[in-house]
């Protein structure tokens, strides 16, 4: 039963492009092998250990409340060379700021987001809605009944989060901020510059 359990789990996780919740894996396996019902949790833990020990090209990660089979970080370079469409940084600083505000303050309206950022954010919001990283949760009662936004599972997947609770507490960021000491300049900007240079190098590599 154990071998059969492992192969079924692996097959399901291999096929599913979305993270599979435990309950779904459980239901599918019980249908196949009713005896699994009592020992599912133990067997699934064993399965995960088996995958880890095997040190193959894939691993099982916890994301958006489910399990997902992904390639190992050690294989990242080779995998990215295989992919035709290069992934560069997908989110602008503005997008990351808006996502952070929504993630911590949801449900939240556009005016509330713009008050925190001090700048118009409607374009960013539209873009994030199109990418299904945020969704409309309803309308806020009050003048104009503005739309309320919240993050989606797509957001959790994009950032490899199991749930919103996996995000650090906001106070932890406060501690990171130098209160009166020197600032490390614009680490963010510098990093994105560095990444741009990197991608430029890659392009020249390709041309060769």
């Amino acid at each position: 039963m154990r071998e059969r359990f492992f192969s079924l789990c692996e097959a399901l996780l291999f096929v599913s492009p979305e993270p599979l919740p435990d309950t779904v894996i459980r239901d599918l396996l019980i249908e196949e092998e009713p005896a699994v019902a009592d020992v599912f949790d133990t067997l699934f833990d064993d399965f995960r250990q088996w995958i880890t020990r095997r040190e193959g090209g894939v691993m099982i990660v916890r994301v958006a409340g489910g399990w997902q089979m992904v390639t190992r970080p050690e294989c990242a370079d080779a995998v990215s060379r295989l992919k035709t469409r290069r992934q560069t940084a997908r989110f602008s600083r503005a997008a990351l700021e808006v996502l952070a505000i929504i993630a911590y303050r949801q449900p939240i309206t556009t005016p509330e987001i713009e008050t925190i950022r001090g700048v118009d954010s409607s374009g960013v919001l539209k873009n994030l809605l199109d990418k299904k990283l945020i969704t409309i949760l309803g309308r806020k009662k009050g003048p104009g009944n503005p739309l309320l936004y919240g993050t989606t599972d797509q957001f959790l997947i994009a950032f490899g989060l199991d749930s919103l609770e996996t995000l650090p507490d906001l106070t932890e960021f406060e501690e990171l901020i130098p209160r009166d000491g020197p600032s490390p300049g614009l680490p963010f900007g510098e990093r994105s510059e560095a990444m741009e240079n990197e991608s430029e190098e890659k392009i020249t590599d390709e041309d060769d």
Binding site: A94, E97, I116, F188
Partner: protein, 248 residues
């Protein structure tokens, strides 16, 4: 020109707004955020705006609003307290509010950076592309129910409950909004629900229609999906992303 302005020449495009620019001015000069030298910062801020204009950069209106706020604080600081009208906020109050906003914004800026790290980490691993295979967690319920199916089901329900009154007077009218949250609550608890069962406790036609409209609205918002096991079969509503509903 002071050295700060020189630095700004190359970094202008990187500012996400007036708060970001102010933070930059404060941080690069190692100034305590709680004790901003308003006169100095205002001068540097205006100088930056001038450079932005010179470079023909689009200056969003928000930058100018902030400029006028800074000038206002600066001018109020020059006035003796007695000469201020009672309705005017004092320079201290305005500055405290500005500091509060800067601190709040800075926290979210950090949080955004954290997301950036998470994204980079996540990009090291690769999952199967989502658009390749259509899967559904409720594998048996694979047929997407159409509006026609939903309307047919509604007709059956209304037929079966013909003796119901059209309208029941209540202290609170049934709102589609409250129906929507009720449906989402059921889905977060049970994962899915048979469409027909949603109406079992409806005691008026108005109630049924309200629930039906709520289902349509949730489908439009892509919060739920309506699925069938076979054509013309029972319709089952599933949360579009079951865990998210449970998680919120």
């Amino acid at each position: 020109m002071d050295p700060v302005s020189d630095q700004l020449r190359v970094k202008l495009e990187l500012f996400e707004g007036p708060l970001d620019l102010l933070l930059h001015l404060i941080r690069t000069q190692h100034i305590d955020i709680a004790a901003i030298p308003i006169a100095k910062i205002t001068r540097q801020y205006l100088e930056t705006i001038r450079i932005m204009k010179e470079l023909d950069l689009d200056i969003a209106g928000e930058y100018l609003v902030m400029a006028s706020t800074l000038i206002l604080i600066k001018s109020r600081m020059l006035l003796p307290p007695s000469s201020q009208g009672d309705n005017d906020e004092s320079a201290e109050v305005m500055q405290a509010e500005l500091v509060r906003r800067l601190k709040e914004y800075e926290v979210f800026k950090e949080a955004g950076q954290h997301l950036h790290h998470l994204e980079q980490e996540r990009q090291l691993v690769c999952a199967r592309p989502t658009d390749e295979i259509e899967t559904d967690v409720h594998t048996e319920w694979v047929i997407e129910a159409s509006l026609v199916d939903l309307l047919k089901s509604l007709r059956d329900i209304l037929d079966r409950k013909q003796d119901l009154p059209h309208h029941v007077v209540r202290s609170k009218p049934v709102s589609v909004r409250s129906r929507m949250s009720a449906i989402l609550k059921i889905l977060s608890e049970r994962g899915s629900v048979i469409f027909r069962d949603l109406f079992s406790e409806c005691d008026s036609r108005q109630d049924i229609i309200g629930t039906f409209l709520a289902v349509l609205e949730l489908m439009r918002l892509q919060a739920i999906r309506a699925r069938q096991r076979k054509m013309f079969g029972d319709i089952r509503l599933v949360a579009y992303r079951p865990d998210e509903v449970a998680g919120t």
